[in-house]
């Protein structure tokens, strides 16, 4: 257990370091985009003005307001100290809204869409993978390649196909948005049904694309396990097939858990394209618009959320594997 503690401490140190570097990059990278965000914002207010001095005054006021008149290292320190107070700053593009408010109002949509979609596609994919490996025949030769084919289509392309087929041609599902165009959101049944109706297409576009990838990994692992010595030994002992499949599943699913954890970690950023295609009011759309508007605080806020998600997921996987994977255990003892 002593070596495990050592393993943990060094891991934690590495993660803290990674987080600090990521934080810095989150701050710096958006600011390297050429152009001046203040000029875009201020050009709106000053479009009707015919006098240089007042326009200049407006310009300077907002440069000061956004802290862009300070050197970049000072901006970074302000950013970090604000962050420690739970303040991600004020959005430029959606001034005067707070970044935290914007993220809060859209993250629910993203998680509501992604979490069930990831879990469903993970479960379906893994079951499909084991079955493909075990049943073979028609299953492995027809259904499996179909899902493999779907998973190879870029997700935006697949989303557009879904929109065309179900929204434009068959007209059985709405093409875009989070709820009906004439609804006012509130916790009522009719609103919930409207949300559900708009939920279908984005949900299936993620699930169907995800299944192929998951089942591919699971199938490979299962085939490997099926040829392993212990399976042969079990067969020799005359164990029931269902029991053998259970052993195989248990062994094969181990790496798949890593996959699940990682997809949960990248969930926030993962739906970007799906959300944009379906105009879904989630974080993906927010990030997309923020980049177009050079909205530094909002871009940093979104990427920070994504970074944190990925780091937490990785960290948890590291801890778990430190406990359960014998190879890592051996490495620790060296």
């Amino acid at each position: 257990m002593k070596s495990y503690r050592k393993y943990m401490t060094s891991k934690i140190a590495w993660y803290v370091l990674t987080f600090v570097v990521a934080l810095f990059l989150n701050f710096l990278l958006p600011r390297l985009i050429p152009g001046n965000p203040v000029s875009t914002i201020v050009s709106k207010i000053t479009s009707g003005m015919a006098d240089t001095n007042s326009i200049k005054r407006v310009y300077e006021t907002f440069e000061k307001e956004f802290g862009l008149n300070k050197p970049i290292w000072e901006q970074f320190l302000i950013y970090v100290s604000n962050l420690l107070h739970g303040n991600m700053g004020t959005s430029f593009g959606q001034y005067p809204r707070k970044v935290t408010d914007i993220l809060a109002s859209s993250i629910m949509w993203t998680i509501g869409l992604q979490l069930p979609a990831i879990i469903v596609s993970w479960i379906l994919g893994n079951v499909l993978g084991v079955l493909a490996a075990y049943i073979k025949k028609g299953f492995d030769k027809v259904l499996f390649p179909v899902f493999l084919f779907i998973s190879c289509i870029p997700s935006f392309g697949f989303a557009i196909v879904l929109v065309w087929l179900f929204a434009v041609a068959l007209k059985i599902a709405p093409a875009s948005g989070g709820y009906a165009f004439d609804m006012i959101p509130s916790p009522t049944l009719s609103f919930f049904l409207s949300v559900l109706q708009h939920y279908q297409l984005p949900f299936w576009s993620i699930v169907l694309v995800g299944i192929g990838g998951q089942s591919l990994g699971m199938r490979e692992m299962s085939i490997y396990e099926l040829n392993a010595d212990y399976v042969k030994y079990c067969r020799l002992l005359g164990l029931k097939d269902s029991k053998i499949v259970r052993y195989v599943f248990k062994n094969a699913v181990l790496p798949q858990i890593t996959g699940l954890a990682l997809s949960l970690g990248t969930m926030v950023g993962g739906a970007l394209i799906t959300e944009i295609v379906f105009s879904y009011p989630g974080l993906g759309s927010v990030l997309f618009n923020a980049i177009a508007a050079q909205d530094f605080p909002l871009i940093s806020g979104c990427t920070l959320l994504i970074t944190t998600g990925v780091l937490i997921a990785n960290f948890v996987i590291d801890i778990v594997y430190g406990l359960i994977d014998p190879r890592i255990k051996v490495a620790q003892q060296e």
Binding site: G48, D51, T52, N53, P96, R97, A104, P281, V316
Partner: protein, 601 residues
């Protein structure tokens, strides 16, 4: 072994639940922080979760593409539906003193009943409508008007620049306001524009906000003001990231006989926020939009329910001239003949047809829009010999030959050792502008001038134009309004906007300087005699046509006014005798349309 397995299972479970809890925490905070609200104004308004009744709701699109953020007229980013105080102000929630009508170029009374300039243009006296009230029941007084204008003096807001023309704004009595003009910068046109573009704010509300925020402008301007006290016919009812809903104020003062005599027809006005033009067009086709203000190609193919202001091409009333602004400090482009040759070569007909989907009439080069109100200011016969035709390649080549710009081995002309090779830019994604610039580039190629198109992000383009880091760039100076075409000419050509390359200019991006132009621009606002005015305008246009500091590429409407008559009828169209301009039923005098439309069934 068993134990470790047990621990690992627990850890996996913990990991997943941590992620979920982390998420649901966020969604909890969301409930409290999400900036939505519902005011129950009347017992008949829709309940939460219900749909706004289709036949009582006017749906609009194309006015905003991002989430609504503020209802504060002092904020710089007025991106929320009811707010737009540009050269023609939106009159839904906040109101101005007068309304501008682009059809006849006249001002119509709103909070102000009448206004008059003294004979020497030194004082403008405005009388208020005594019926005018705020939606909290208090009267709109001269004190409110004075207070509002004073705010512009105190803080850098959109109407601050009016103080360049104003000496003082004082209340004579409860319903009379006196605007004293600056004697050294007398410009009655800009004062008139202030009367139709400055939203009047309630003093009793904003003094309290100022007090609360300690007169700190950054705090005041970031107030969301989500339940605005204003004088207009609509109140903010609900908003979130995807829509803004306004509800009619049934106690609106304007139902008095001295104003409209009734309430506007739609009980709700809803703006859904679409991802792009295509999404808005789909909604228009599906009758989910009644008034669309967005560029929609081939609008004539949308069926009988979809109407535009003009029944024939160009379908929309011209309102803005997008210009090809030329940086006159660049070697090569500092030669007026080169600029003129470029102007002659451009295929304007192709731009109108391809880039603008036919929504632009034939270009008649000048500073003026092809509207009667502007055309009558110039003597056409004097301008005609100077105006260029569309796609005059031979003429342009001859002109370039005559100034000794010979073609080099690569087919590109060289003038005084300077290769005529330039970059032309506008923001990426502005599809009609991008297409127009491609046509400019190919036209220039035909006369041996190499022009590369460059489509950066909007902020880059903005910065390039302001700092002079460009050869040629597309930009729209002021379109229509009571102060145009003066404001347009001023923004495009006045040396007051000049800044050296590298320093920020806020207009006159081309860095054009001409003292004769400055003199004319100073005189025009004060000329009352019609012949004199015509002379001055003709002269200014002559200089423009000779010097070509910028080239008008097409005409665009001030608003793309496309209506869907499947739910609402009676939208104003050309020749219906209503004199209501195509300003999307809400900008300037265009709001009169809301009192005229009725249910289609």
């Amino acid at each position: 072994m068993k134990f470790k397995k047990f621990i690992s299972m627990i850890l996996v479970f913990l990991m997943i639940s941590l992620l979920i809890v982390g998420c649901s925490n966020n969604s909890n905070s969301n409930k409290t922080s999400e900036n939505n609200k519902i005011t129950t104004t009347t017992e008949t308004s829709v309940k939460p979760g219900e749909a706004t009744p289709r036949n009582e709701t006017l749906y609009i699109s194309g006015l905003q593409w991002g989430p609504p953020t503020t209802f504060n007229p002092l904020s710089p980013s007025q991106t929320s539906l009811p707010l737009s105080a540009t050269s023609i102000a939106r009159e839904l929630t906040f109101e101005t003193l007068f309304m501008y009508n682009q059809l006849d170029g006249k001002m119509y009374p709103l909070l102000g009943k009448s206004y008059a300039f003294s004979s020497d243009n030194t004082v403008c006296t405005v009388t208020l409508n005594p019926d005018a009230k705020w939606n909290d029941g208090q009267k709109v007084t001269a004190g409110d008007v004075v207070y509002t204008f004073e705010l512009g003096k105190k803080y850098p807001v959109s109407w601050s620049s009016n103080w360049n023309y104003l000496d003082s704004v004082t209340a004579k009595d409860d319903t009379t306001v006196e605007f004293k003009l600056k004697s050294d910068n007398k410009n009655p046109l800009m004062v008139e524009e202030a009367l139709e573009s400055v939203y009047i704010l309630p003093k009793h509300v904003w003094t309290k906000i100022e007090e609360k925020d300690n007169n700190d402008f950054s705090k005041i301007s970031s107030e969301v003001n989500e339940n605005p006290v204003a004088s207009g016919p609509y109140k903010v009812f609900y908003y979130d990231n995807t829509k803004v809903v306004l509800i009619r104020d049934d106690n609106y003062w304007g139902k008095a006989p001295s104003m409209w005599g009734k309430l506007p027809a739609p009980k709700y006005i809803v703006h859904n926020i679409f991802k792009d033009n295509a999404a808005g067009d789909t909604a228009l086709r599906q009758n989910q939009v009644d008034v669309s203000q967005q560029f929609t190609p081939n609008i004539q193919t949308f069926g009988p329910n979809i109407k535009t202001y003009l029944s024939k091409p160009p379908y929309y009333m011209p309102g803005v001239i997008p210009w090809l602004v030329i940086n006159v400090t660049k070697p090569g482009l500092d030669n007026a003949n080169v600029r003129r040759a470029i102007a002659m070569a451009i295929d304007y007909d192709k731009i109108a047809k391809n880039a603008m989907s036919g929504y632009s009439g034939t270009m008649s080069p000048s500073l003026m829009l092809p509207l009667d109100s502007e055309q009558k200011l110039v003597d056409q016969s004097q301008l005609a010999p100077l105006q260029w035709k569309s796609h005059d390649i031979d003429g342009a080549n001859a002109l370039l030959d005559s100034i000794g710009a010979k073609k080099g081995p690569d087919g590109i002309r060289v003038l005084n050792g300077q290769k005529l090779s330039f970059k032309v830019e506008c923001p990426t994604g502005w599809s009609d502008w991008n297409a127009a610039l491609e046509i400019v580039a190919s036209s220039c190629k035909e006369i041996g001038i190499n022009v590369q198109t460059y489509f950066p992000q909007q902020s880059v383009w903005n910065n390039d134009m302001q700092t002079g880091n460009f050869d040629m760039g597309m930009y729209s100076y002021q379109g229509i309004g009571i102060s145009s075409p003066w404001a347009r000419a001023y923004q495009g050509m006045s040396s007051n906007g000049y800044a050296p390359i590298g320093q920020t200019a806020y207009f006159n991006y081309g860095r054009y300087k001409n003292s004769e132009v400055d003199t004319l621009l100073n005189q025009i606002p004060n000329i009352t005699d019609e012949t004199q005015l015509k002379d001055a305008w003709t002269k200014l246009n002559e200089i423009y046509l000779k010097e070509v500091p910028m080239i008008g590429l097409m005409y665009r409407p001030a608003d793309f006014y496309t209506v869907n008559t499947s739910v609402w009828s009676g939208f104003p169209v050309e020749g219906d005798g209503t004199n209501i301009p195509p300003n999307i039923c809400m900008d300037g005098y265009g709001i009169a349309a809301l009192y005229k439309i009725h249910s289609s069934k």
